[in-house]
Every structure is written in structure tokens, then in C-alpha cells.
């Protein structure tokens, strides 16, 4: 019996699960602030409402004038740009908590990279039956086109963003791994810049670890990959262009790292080498931090109608003349159906017990899991395995019968395309909203850079579900954000 099945049968025999109260990060059970929030709490009390209100408006204005925006794709096929929603009260993580998180994230990323190398080479884990081969070969993001290619230093996911939530007991759980082109890091930094500017006095009370050096860390990791050596490396950020929802971030990172921002048409492949077209002729490119999806990366290998990518780049990568960040094909390791196997993947490659736990997950390819989920859709979160950003998702408790029927039909048609998880009450935190302190649910996306070593940037993007009671934190679905402070001691 799988662990999932045990959980399922116990909840089946025990009747409806008892109502649980979401963990509160700020308040203890007796409504007193947790110890590490006391200095901040005293400060808020002294600052008073009217000043806090002024600060909140200043923060919004700063983000507006800095042009910190994001794009929501609407049904009209038009992008709508919005100012990044930001709550001025920071989320604080103690050093002790962070150490455990950091170790867990490093372990996970190390294992997932070994997994990717294995999948695209000898496939030992499939032969040993630890991960079902059908799951991989039916996966939309398994890129057989890159079989047997050796990426520099065997690294596939140079930049990862792992979404963490805290359950009712306050335990950190991994909700999903984002290993393709996780976005949000620019907002993590902008949040910190604004917070320092608007609330410098907050920082005097705490020793907060820096996150602003992320671009420098990233640049160092990218240089490490250069086939011509770090000193001579030419690096470009490859963007799909201004219509992409994360275009702000692409320009931000290129500017902060001091590297070129390029579109596919600015580059050319010649003799399995990549060149940047400049006013002074062609300049060899060593590392491409691409923010273009696999499908569009090389029309010679993937979608032939793509005009966003660069024909020949996969051959240049195969020849070892350029590094691609993240490696094409990484998406199979963050496929939501593969996610359920990550604890096993960690045990298999590292021989270690996973430090961070997963959210229990039902596989829709398993008939028993499927039947259980279909009977309990109103208590489930159903996700399409290859979607992100909160798209293609059913939130059981807030869904209509028609939406549930629609998902039941979709699951029946293509079970491999869906997974389900019981609704976890995300932890809450106080937010300053319209002159009141209100509690809202939130998650955390720390960023992990894999260069010469694996580094977890101390902090991350805390996303807040701004609608009262909502558990959806995606900025594309009306979520906001907070600065995340990791304490030095």
C-alpha cells in the first residue's frame, strides 16, 4: 500500500476530516505575536496607523515609478500590465528554521539534477522501476530530442524556484518544484529595495540577510558554465520579447548582471557556435540564460513555427560550444505527476531521507486514487500536470458543481494530465490592507542557484492571497507579495 493510499483509507473510515485552523506565522495560539516578531510588533505600535498608511502609499508609489509591474493574461488575448502588489509588513524566518529549509532545498535540487541526468542518459531509475517509465514517456515535457547530450558540469537546473507552504502544524511542505524558467526573483529584490527605502527603521531591529546580491550570484554561476572559461564568457539573457509576462524580470536581470538582453533574431548559429549580432560584427556567445520555453527554443528541433528562438542552438549545445540555462528538458522533473516521486528520487540517488516533505498527491492514472478524488472533488485541488501560474487548476472548496463536472470529464479523458491534492490550509500572516491589519494566506518561493555549488538565496518571494479566505497566491490570479526576511542569528 502506498503512503497515499493509507492516508486515503484512514480519512475514508474516519468520516469527514475535522476542521483545521491554518497556522499563523505572526500570532501564537494565544494571539500574542511570536517571539521573533516582537520587535516588529512594538515598532508597528509606536509607528501608529496613520504613518503606516503613508508608508504603504509610498511603497506603492515607489513600485509605480520604478516600473515594477507584472502582466495578467486576460481572455481577450491582451496583456494587462499592473503595478506589483506589495504588502509592507515583512515575513520573518528565523535562522534555525532557515537552516533546515536550506538543507532540504539543496538536497532536493541535487537529487533532481541527478534524476535529469539519468533520464536523459542511462535511465537507471526507470530500469529499476523506482519511477514508472510510462510516466516519463507520456510526459509532455520529456524532451527525447536531448537524449545523450551532456550539459556543462552535468547541471540541468541552474536556477530553481521551489514553492513551499506551511501546513496546519507549521511544517514546511514542498508544493511544487519550478525547474524551467522560474520567475519572481526580480520581485524578491525589488521588494527588498522598497522595504529598505520605506521602512529603514524596521531593519535596525533585526539582522536581516541580504538578497540583493542574487544577480551577482547568478552571474558567477553563469560564468562557471562558459566553455571558454569564466574570464572570457559572453552571456546573454534570451527573452521572448515585450509581450512576455516576465519581460520586466528579463530586463531587470540583464541590467543587474551587466549582460546583453537578446531576442532570437539578435543571435545566429554558425558552425555549431552561437554569435550575437553587434554593430561591430559577430561576437561569440558562451552562455544563454534563456527565458524562452523549450518548445520555442530551436525551430530546427522543437516547434518549427517558432520565431522566438534560435535555429541551431541545440546542436551548438550538443557540441559543447554554448551553455543553456536551464537545460532544455528540465521540465519533466517538475511535472506534477513526477513530483509525487521526488521523495523516492532523493532516496534513490542520495541514499538520504528527504528533509522536506511533499504535499500528499493522488495520481489520476491510478484507478483507486482517481475514484476517490472524483468522489471528493469539493475537498481537492486538481492541477494540470504541465501548467503553472495557477492556470488549469480546480480549487475544490470554492468551485461550482459545473466546474467540478468539467474537471471530472477532463480527468476521465486524460488521467496522465492531472493530479489531485487534498486542500492544505496555507499558513497565514498579518497584512496591512486598507488601514487594517488582516490575516491572509501565503506561500514562499525561495530561489536556488546551482553553479560551482548549490546556493539557496536567503529569502525568497512570499506570495500572499490578497482575497480574504483565498488560497490562490499566484500574482496572475490576484495575489500579492511581502518582503521575506531571513534572520542571521
Amino acid at each position: 500500500m502506498t503512503p497515499m493510499r493509507q492516508l486515503q483509507s484512514s480519512s475514508q473510515t474516519g468520516g469527514p476530516p475535522p476542521r483545521t485552523v491554518a497556522y499563523h506565522e505572526f500570532y501564537r495560539d494565544d494571539f500574542r505575536p511570536r517571539e521573533h516578531y516582537l520587535p516588529m510588533w512594538e515598532h508597528i505600535q509606536r509607528t501608529g496607523q496613520s504613518l503606516l498608511d503613508t508608508k504603504a502609499r509610498e511603497a506603492h508609489l515607489a513600485l509605480h515609478t520604478e516600473g515594477v509591474t507584472f502582466t495578467v493574461y486576460s481572455n481577450q488575448d491582451e496583456g494587462i500590465e499592473r503595478v506589483w502588489p506589495f504588502d509592507i509588513l515583512p515575513r520573518i524566518i528565523t535562522a534555525e528554521e532557515w537552516h533546515a529549509l536550506e538543507a532540504g532545498l539543496k538536497q532536493r535540487i541535487r537529487a533532481l539534477n541527478l534524476f535529469l541526468k539519468d533520464l536523459y542518459h542511462g535511465q537507471r531509475i526507470l530500469k529499476d522501476g523506482v519511477v514508472p517509465p510510462e510516466l516519463i514517456y507520456r510526459g509532455k515535457d520529456f524532451r527525447r530530442e536531448i537524449m545523450d547530450i551532456d550539459p556543462p558540469h552535468d547541471i540541468y537546473t541552474h536556477i530553481s524556484g521551489v514553492d513551499l507552504i506551511r501546513d496546519e502544524q507549521g511544517r514546511y511542505l514542498v508544493l511544487e518544484d519550478n525547474l524551467r524558467t522560474p520567475s519572481g526573483v526580480s520581485y524578491m529584490i525589488e521588494n527588498r529595495i522598497v522595504e529598505r527605502r520605506i521602512l529603514p527603521e524596521f531593519f535596525h531591529r533585526y539582522q536581516v540577510r541580504r538578497v540583493e546580491h542574487y544577480p551577482a550570484l547568478l552571474l558567477q554561476a553563469l560564468r562557471y558554465l562558459s566553455p571558454r572559461g569564466a574570464e572570457d564568457a559572453t552571456i546573454v539573457v534570451l527573452t521572448p520579447g515585450i509581450f512576455n509576462s516576465a519581460y520586466f524580470e528579463h530586463t531587470f536581470l540583464a541590467k543587474e548582471m551587466g549582460v546583453e538582453l537578446a531576442e532570437g533574431r539578435d543571435l545566429v548559429c554558425k558552425n555549431d557556435k552561437v554569435y550575437l549580432k553587434t554593430t561591430r560584427g559577430l561576437r561569440r556567445v558562451d552562455v544563454i540564460y534563456r527565458r524562452v520555453d523549450d518548445d520555442f527554443l530551436d525551430p530546427l528541433v522543437f516547434r518549427p513555427d517558432s520565431v522566438l528562438g534560435l535555429a541551431g542552438v541545440i546542436n551548438a549545445w550538443r557540441a559543447g560550444n554554448v551553455a543553456l540555462v536551464n537545460a532544455p528538458g528540465s521540465g519533466i522533473a517538475d511535472d506534477k505527476a513526477v513530483y509525487a516521486y521526488v521523495p523516492e528520487i532523493i532516496r534513490y540517488y542520495l541514499g538520504e531521507t528527504p528533509i522536506l516533505q511533499n504535499v500528499p498527491t493522488y495520481q489520476m492514472t491510478d484507478p483507486q486514487d482517481r475514484a476517490y478524488v472524483l468522489d471528493n472533488l469539493e475537498r481537492m485541488v486538481v492541477k494540470a500536470v504541465a501548467e503553472s501560474g495557477g492556470y488549469g487548476m480546480l480549487m475544490g472548496p470554492s468551485s461550482t458543481p459545473a466546474q467540478r463536472a468539467e474537471f471530472a470529464r477532463k480527468i476521465g479523458e486524460n488521467p496522465r494530465n492531472y493530479i489531485a491534492q487534498p486542500v492544505v490550509q496555507l499558513s497565514r500572516h498579518i497584512c496591512y490592507l486598507d488601514g487594517e491589519l488582516e490575516s491572509r494566506h501565503l506561500d514562499l518561493r525561495p530561489f536556488i542557484i546551482y553553479g560551482e555549488d548549490i546556493e539557496v538565496v536567503p529569502g525568497g518571494l512570499t506570495r500572499v492571497a490578497l482575497t480574504k479566505g483565498s488560497l490562490v497566491v499566484n500574482s496572475s490570479q490576484g495575489g500579492g507579495s511581502k518582503d521575506t526576511w531571513v534572520l542571521a542569528e
Partner: protein, 297 residues
């Protein structure tokens, strides 16, 4: 058997194009039963082709023409020796153990799953009946080889064969609707059927003996001129005990030493003879292809 293959493809653009990246799958493969004696690929305007293997193990030649040009001419000249005289010459496995043999092969080489699971417009899951006819159902007690032959006979009886013609095959639905198809479409039908049985089966492109293009002796009176030679397509099934064996529903034969393999894939989309991308306003009329396979004594 020894063959000489000469193939030329010509493409002319009405306006110059540039940054033209090309990948071709044209060269015969090297295997236990097929030896390449010589192989030369030349390109005009001049370019030096490089070679790599794709995920199915096929040789893929690639080259790029960066500057402006108004034509692309690719010439292949190769000599091959084929040795599979009798495709039935192997130690068969009892039918009761065949599925274990396949399951074992899949465990040893998960890559084979592509040839069992893949479904597309070329190789969709088949309904129980196709118009007025029903595809043969799988009998777990009978040998797979015989059942694939039976399926091939069913295809020959139910569908009319035409020449390969245009290289872009039609979706299987077109074959089912029209009742006629070229070697690619017929191979796809066999693949769709055998995949439904859980047996690994793959699409093959290659060249065949010039004799197949000569007019039928019965019809010799009407037209004595042979059809123009074209690239050919058939299916390969993983036959327990034997390994990959070619089945050609367009001729109703098992592939022997009169078949010259070039590339394999899940379906035709994996193995186009040419895939290219260029920049510029120019467009080209259809590519002209001349193929000549001759038997060497």
C-alpha cells in the same frame, strides 16, 4: 545485395534567403545486416555537413548557409551492402513466452516505450471497426510474427496502395476515409494496429530495390515505363527472438536484403528527410527530388 544510391534534391528561391539551417536524414544506416561501403553528401552552395545521432539512433547530417543564396542542392551518393537474405531465419520463442520477452525488453530499454505508447494523427488508437471492415484483434495464444503478417494481409485486402509520391504523409483518417494510401500511410495503419496490441513497432524510411518500381508483368502491355523511384516507408516490429523485423504493407512483404534502411521513428514526423529553417522573403517552389537506386553486380 549491393546497391548504389544517388539522390539529388533541388530547391530554388525566387528571392535570396539567408541563415538557412538544414538537417537531413538521408544516409543509409550501419547495422549487422547493412554495411555502408561509401557515403558522400555534398551541398551547393558549398557547406560542410556535420553529423550527430538523434534520440532514435539515426544519423542526422546538418549544415548551415549563413549568407544570401537562392538555391539549395543536396546530393547523396552511397554504396551499401545488405545481408538480410531471409527475415524468417531466427530461433522463434514459444508464443506463450513472447509477452514476457517483450516486457523484459521494455524493462531493459525503457526507450522502447516510445514505440508502444506514441499516438498521433498518423498513428491514432483505432476504433473497433473502420467503415465496413474490422482490424484483426490480437490473439495472445498465437505467435506475434504471424499475427503481424495477418494484419498486413488485412491492410492489403482492405486498402488500395499507391506510390509514395509526396513525402508528407496524410493523417490516418484520410487513408481510412479514402481507402487508398501510399507506403507511409499503410505503414502508419500497421503501426497504429500493432501498438494497440502492446507490441513495440516503429516507422522506417529508406530505399528499396529498383525492381519494385518496374511495371507489373500483367500490366506490361499498358505501360512499359517504370514508375519514378521514390523514398520508401515501412514498419518494423520487435519480434520476440528476432529483434526488429520490417513489414511492408504496401508490398505485403517482410523486409529483406532488397530494403535499405535510413531512419526510424515513432511515426513519419520523427524522420523527415529534410528539416530546414531560413530567414528572408524568398519562397521556393516544391523541392525537386531525383532518386536512383541501382543494383550492383
Amino acid at each position: 545485395m549491393r546497391y548504389r544510391i544517388e539522390r539529388a534534391s533541388r530547391r530554388f528561391f525566387d528571392q535570396p534567403v539567408r541563415e538557412h539551417h538544414v538537417q537531413v536524414r538521408l544516409a543509409p544506416w550501419e547495422s549487422d545486416t547493412q554495411r555502408v561501403l561509401s557515403c558522400n553528401l555534398s551541398i551547393d552552395p558549398p557547406a560542410e555537413p556535420a553529423c550527430a545521432r538523434d534520440c532514435f539512433g539515426n544519423q542526422v547530417h546538418r549544415f548551415a548557409l549563413i549568407g544570401a543564396h537562392d538555391r539549395l542542392i543536396t546530393r547523396l551518393v552511397a554504396e551499401v551492402e545488405t545481408r538480410l537474405v531471409n527475415p524468417f531465419d531466427f530461433e522463434p520463442i514459444p508464443p506463450s513466452r513472447e509477452h514476457d520477452w517483450i516486457a523484459h525488453s521494455l524493462r531493459q530499454a525503457p526507450r522502447l516505450l516510445d514505440f508502444v505508447l506514441h499516438r498521433s494523427d498518423f498513428t491514432p488508437a483505432l476504433p473497433e471497426t473502420l467503415g465496413e471492415t474490422s482490424p484483426p484483434t490480437f490473439d495472445p495464444g498465437a505467435a506475434i510474427l504471424g499475427q503481424v503478417q495477418g494484419a498486413m494481409d488485412w491492410i492489403s485486402a482492405a486498402f488500395a496502395s499507391r506510390s509514395m509520391g509526396n513525402e508528407t504523409p496524410a493523417p490516418l483518417a484520410d487513408l481510412i476515409a479514402s481507402g487508398r494510401g501510399g507506403p507511409s500511410e499503410l505503414a502508419h495503419l500497421l503501426i497504429a494496429l500493432v501498438r494497440g496490441w502492446g507490441v513495440p513497432v516503429r516507422y522506417v524510411t529508406g530505399y528499396i530495390d529498383p525492381g519494385y518500381f518496374e511495371p507489373d508483368e500483367d500490366a506490361a502491355g499498358e505501360s512499359a515505363a517504370p514508375c519514378p523511384q521514390t523514398r520508401h516507408a515501412w514498419a518494423e516490429v520487435l519480434v520476440p527472438g528476432a529483434g526488429w523485423r520490417g513489414f511492408d504493407p504496401s508490398t505485403g512483404l517482410l523486409a529483406d536484403d532488397s530494403y535499405i534502411g535510413v531512419a526510424v521513428g515513432r511515426d513519419a514526423a520523427d524522420v523527415p528527410s529534410e528539416r530546414s529553417i531560413f530567414k528572408g522573403e524568398g519562397s521556393a517552389a516544391e523541392t525537386q527530388v531525383d532518386l536512383s537506386v541501382t543494383r550492383l553486380e
